[in-house]
Point group: D2
Chain length 508, copies 4
């Protein structure tokens, strides 16, 4: 069976070569600055092996019929999408933020569709490579990063127009046995503790960008890969052990310094076969889509974590029943509800692609993800509002435990005489970590940009939306057209997108 334990995974990581760089040190995966992120990943393996969570965190492989982690599964149904979303939310509750393993499986789902569809159109056989790679994933409960964002240089220039041709990841050589790639990918969450790195394009590629139409998967320590690693933490605790203070993030600025990728791990190669170039954009969009759908699970969790903290501190301060407090809490809750519902309905409206993989509704997924992104900073504001200034000015923990100042510090922290001073301390300490730490800053930025900023979701929504159909309502009401067909918005479905790419591909 494919389900592995955290120990299995840790043992694998330990064997990876030392290609991480943190603050001037070249380190391996046992560096203690990665402990926070490993603590989060641990949750995914532990719950997968926890009988109470198996209905949610495990499923049956459509390839092998074996029990596997849901983090290695290709969505075969609406129910799969619903469970992925719910699992994401519930696990995020337990770690107080990002669960770190979505992007890998989101990339795999996108590849499952695009490799299949491309084969159908071009007669290539990349899907075979993909399926064999998927088998490896499911057998080993792989943890991976999907590296999409190129460094991109001048934002208004296409890849081939950049002063330095390497500012987008590119194929410098394509040989029968594989490709050599050069470039860098950034914002690679989880990469420092991943078994594998999947690389895919960041945008649509034109006919002059064939070298940049590239997708592949490789072990995280393959020769030539260098990860400049950036960890971030909530404040770590010395006395008040608590889950929140154990969690951490690590991001990688990943350099591919002429890395050779064997052919069976290549999923897109526009340099060797320019007909594949149009599929770069399809893959970029489809990964973003799955990843935004995952955000309809994790972002409501973040809203609920913040709402939970806000409700707790309001209780401890005795203001829980005040009108303005309930109003503010209800906005955190309302955003969580609407975003989660958008993801659920996107699953209910999902379409089965010809590859068998289910694809959720794009417009609604994007509308939901966008609302989450628009609200993220406001959500922090609400927590800060209800917590008061103390969350930013708290003395350090030591002052609460020292002989000289401990009693005084605890005495003056008391608000609610029914709650122990320790728990009141824990509450403020926890909120300090949630909203005034470096990781808080990272979570804010991730809440805005992760999976694409609100601006990107607007672009996606508007490029999929059937605006002409929409106009038919006004045309009818204003007497410009005689009748109104039973109007329900239709969208450019993956199938229609495929048609577009076929046409583009047909041009070669």
């Amino acid at each position: 069976m494919g389900l592995k334990t955290f120990d299995d995974y840790s043992n694998r990581l330990r064997k990876l070569s030392r290609n991480l760089y943190i603050a001037g040190d070249r380190v391996d995966r046992t560096d203690e600055r990665l402990a926070g992120q490993l603590r989060i990943i641990k949750e995914t393996y532990d719950r997968g092996n926890d009988p109470e969570w198996q209905d949610l965190c495990t499923t049956t492989s459509h390839l092998t019929g074996e029990k596997i982690s849901r983090f290695t599964h290709i969505h075969q149904s609406t129910d799969d999408l619903l469970k992925k979303q719910l699992m994401t939310k519930l696990l995020c509750h337990r770690v107080g933020g990002c669960i770190m393993r979505c992007m890998g499986i989101d990339g795999m789902n996108a590849l499952s569709v695009v490799t299949y569809e491309m084969d159908q159109v071009l007669g290539t056989d990349t899907n075979k490579n993909f399926l064999s790679y998927l088998r490896h994933w499911q057998d080993n409960d792989i943890c991976a990063n999907c590296a999409q964002t190129d460094t991109k240089g001048d934002r208004l220039k296409r890849p081939h127009e950049q002063a330095d041709p390497d500012l987008y990841l590119r194929i410098v050589e394509s040989r029968p046995d594989g490709i050599v790639v050069r470039g860098a990918k950034i914002d690679n969450t989880t990469a420092p503790v991943s078994d594998e790195i999947i690389a895919i394009p960041t945008r649509f590629m034109t006919e002059k960008d064939h070298d940049y139409a590239v997708a592949f998967a490789v072990p995280a320590d393959l020769e030539g890969i260098k990860m400049l690693t950036r960890p971030a933490y909530h404040h770590r605790s010395k006395y008040l052990q608590a889950p929140i203070s154990e969690m951490g993030d690590a991001e990688s600025f990943t350099i591919f310094d002429d890395v050779f990728v064997p052919r069976e791990r290549v999923f897109l190669d526009g340099k060797a076969d320019p007909r594949q170039t149009p599929f770069a954009g399809f893959l970029a969009l489809l990964f973003a889509h799955y990843h935004r759908h995952s955000y309809t699970g994790c972002k409501p969790a973040v809203s609920e974590v913040l709402a939970s903290a806000a409700a707790l501190v309001a209780e401890y301060s005795g203001i829980e029943k005040e009108d303005h407090v309930r109003d503010k809490l209800s906005h955190l809750i309302g955003t969580a509800e609407l975003v989660f519902a958008a993801g659920q309905m996107s699953a209910y409206r999902a379409e089965r692609s010809t590859s068998g993989t289910f694809i959720p509704d794009e417009i609604l997924t994007n509308a939901g993800r966008r609302l989450a992104g628009e609200e993220i900073y406001n959500e922090y504001k609400i927590v800060a509002d209800l917590a008061g200034g103390l969350c930013a000015t708290m003395p350090f923990e030591e002052e609460f435990f020292s002989e000289e100042t401990g009693d005084l510090a605890n005495k003056y922290l008391m608000r609610n005489s029914r709650i122990s001073s320790e728990n009141q301390h824990r509450c403020f300490r926890g909120i300090e970590g949630l909203i005034v730490s470096e990781l808080a800053g990272v979570t804010q930025v991730a809440g805005l940009h992760g999976g694409g900023s609100p601006q990107m979701e607007t672009i996606t929504m508007m490029s999929r939306y059937d605006l002409e159909g929409l106009k038919s309502i006004a045309k009818y009401l204003f007497g410009i057209e005689k009748d109104l067909p039973k109007y329900e918005r239709s969208t450019v479905t993956p199938r229609k997108m495929l048609e577009r790419y076929k046409k583009l591909a047909g041009g070669h």
Copy 2:
């Protein structure tokens, strides 16, 4: 079979006595100032008899097995709720706003639950009365208003505390054969063209408010009922016939001047049986809930009508591809998508009550309705922004058709040479009606207050939400509690609400 035509309905209306008052006149239902609202109601009967729409607009009665209008149906399944919501949206597209028949059937659904539940608890048999009344509805394809909002006098006083005891509708006499009621209900959309008026309480009633715990249904022209009627229109057209200019609203300020209601039409009577008093609040809330769920259908339609007009005028002005235009359109679209999805998911999460009637998710329905209410004025702002000042300063239609000024007016209106000047005229004329007419003002207010203002939805959300469960997340993360149960928000379901009311009722 129960399905009727617009003619059947009109014939019934024509027979009602003259108890409407408009601008000093006592009139019957043929008064031409009601034509706009009748035009909207016509859409509901016509589509019900239109083969293309029957899947949506008709269904099978669970009472009789006969084909009936969905506007007379008690929801027996999630699918019923989904279809009601979709029907509402699609019909609203066709009339450019409110479809006018929701509140009646929303009231009936609430009664189907509350009469049943009350009978279970108290051993009364009001549900029998209700079912017999429902039969009348389904057999005749009844059009009704559900009158909820009392005039309420001083907002901070309970009904029995008011200077004038009639400021909430009350039972002045309860006799074996029926009750005599006095008071007034306001904001009664559709009442002027309704067959029947259903009256229900507007709030929770205390032990001192027994006389105000009252619900019943009566013919709209029953002796003692006086409807002070307020019609409103978009601008009406002389030359450019168009659906938008035919539609109208009519509201009633309905006075019950000692009206006798026969016992078989009484569904709640706290005066005769004070044990029934707690069910007043249950009924008030449940009607509001069904009505807010209906808003998840009609409000997305309003957003889409506005988006449609905005997209059309943007095309005609040549600015459709501008970034800021697409951004603004996407906000109209996004709101429509999120609100509609909230209603759909509320249906998917619906619970079957013991009466058999399905009840959608309350928190999500309220979150969706609230978003719609919060956005309504902003949506008008976006249309005005894209249409430009002309929509508020347009010369009258006559100037475009007169010999002296017609050619000049048409010449200078031209923006897009591929569109006829008439259609450009129609576009601006239509938008003028949509956003700068008296009915536009009514629609704004209705979009805010209809079914309850955002403030009411916040109160409902917060009174249903399991805040203690939510806090368990922070308690776990901050180390205050050892573990976190698999947290999914639970709510005070109708069943739990019933328990509350049972306890309250048990006090007598």
Copy 3:
């Protein structure tokens, strides 16, 4: 002395020829559909002759030393700008909205600068014409419209690129004794009751647009001028006479059908002298600037009128002390305060141009006007929220005064027993007019677009702001530059703008 009475003005209007068109009729200024707008204009003359208001509404002409209306004055000081702004606000309070005479004097102030500056640069002598025209204004207390907005056809094309060359007002012939102009101007508030029409360009003009670089002033009934007139009202009262119900707006879609303008009334003529073309943009911008500064007076008045109504209905409903009510009122008040303060500080920071005319701070004026525009729809939402649905569903006035329904209607309207039912009726009737009438729709659109939409203010702000200076802060803090000069934002002042135009003009 220059100060005139409303009678003087009315007598002048009565003599104008019949070139207004309303709903198919050709009418003169005595048409009763213009009575509402005249009622507003009356306020400006009456207060000018009211001893209590003379400090504000009158001043001394810098041309003649005589006492004149401030509505005919060229700003000679910061104090003039402050008084203009305050006068605007206080008069708007009295009419419940737009005071109708700003745009004329705003256009005159812009002309006072641009004609002078152009003469300095080009050696022309248009300022002489302007001063002689100003003398006419001041001697007669002229009421004028400044017509700026062209119909503009395809928004993405320049004037000379349009399919029909007349879609921007243009000079079809330039002769020594004058020019012949053709085209149309729209959104011309007050034009139907104006003595004079001033026409100025709507945008910057390129070298191919010389014919469109035109500015002039003419009597409102000059041969060839046709005004397609659009009046709008709050609801008019039959029983409850009140200022609100007397007020009205009238807008003109003004057609210049080959109108001959004598040379002494021409202020810009790019056809005869292409060197003047760059000053078209300067004039367009400067008028917009003065007009936006006027909006910092009128829009706070609108916010305060709405706040006033909201506070009154809150008192009558007994909810005045509720937290959420005070919060909502405070937002109306806060917006009024900030916008008015922006206008005042713009006056304090004003610069004297070489012509002697004072020009307020552009960035701040635009920031203030923009905030007002962004908030306008939200302000209506707040009033609707506090007033409740009744403001949109009120029975007509007649129902409150008829024998059959009057007592009942008044009985059920009662909320606050310390207030007479008539006053409660007046309050709701007034709010109905303010927010659910056709004029309410017009005021919403005017609040957004008048003087330029928020988008236009953003463009202006960003084109004036010294962004490089701003960046010096980050460059210093980030160590990119060694020191930070004492940074205060500087802007492209009128003087700097003039330099630009000089350079442009120098190209010929």
Copy 4:
């Protein structure tokens, strides 16, 4: 003369006893964790001694006629208020945030009014004590904290109702020679590096709270004072020295453990003289008012620092001219402009109190401060939006300077080939510090709560605003009142507030 250098000040600090506690250590003011805050304070002394800044940063004492730092001055005119506000803004630019010395002088200005007014009413002579203390300030260029916020325990209980009577700072003994105080004050910015601590009440005190009506000033190391100190930093740099990375904050949770305050340093003593109790609220409000006015200087600076960084990164990424970028920048700029203008106009409208001290307009100051608070989180969102995800995922500095990865890191950071890679690095490193560091979190919270949260400003605005006067507008327009007095909003000025306190005081 009173102006001192940073060295003078440092020498004083060095002599203070070790009563700071940081992370378990008892330390003095030389602890390196305070270096960041000292770096900021240094700016205030350096600029005070910098000839180019003397017009702004120094002035003439009204007590002695000597040249003093503006940070020790009592405002004698509108110009003083304007200069204080401008100085605050310009110095904040130089340190990238809070300038740390406002609260001291804000407290002194409040005391200058309240001690004087109280003496007038009660015949006490506290103002003499104050003036002598002020002399000490001006002679020594004192740096002080004004400690206002009590720990407050249960928010819904008054001081005397708390379970522990010490949860608000109180007088435990009042003797002829002085008072003994016990309690704690929190959120005390600058306190760790202050010469002096001024303590004032946090709220209005009732007749049962006499012991809590206390104000005084003491040396920061007086026996019994313990400061639990919390420093915070942007990220500190190893290679890229830059002002931003040198700056830091330090907050104190200050415990008064039975501290004896000599009588000449006591400014309010409700225990000895209960007639003084009403002045506690007056003092609390007046300090908040001066401090909010200071925020109209510092918050625009924060907005401009953020705007500056956003504009710089937009330039470096090549997107500076994009519409959406300019729109976002303009919102940062617009907020800065409006808030600063609100503060300036509050100065122009300031009133001279009988003590001679000028008091700015309260409603406008609060409206300005509130806008700043409402926008602060949104401002961070805009910077994050324009900077992209990299600001949260940047590799550490060392990776850019190591032999192994430096060249690669710098190569892939390149966006704009006209800018050196070091400067691009500096830009992202700076933004990382500004928005994703612990100090960023502190600045967010301070931007919301400092001087009082938006909620507090709303309360202040609404308690000062003349709502009855405002209603007169609607009453006139709606025909409820016959005429409208020339309405300008009037407020409860300090003089009127004093009348209130006199009445309250008269009760004893």
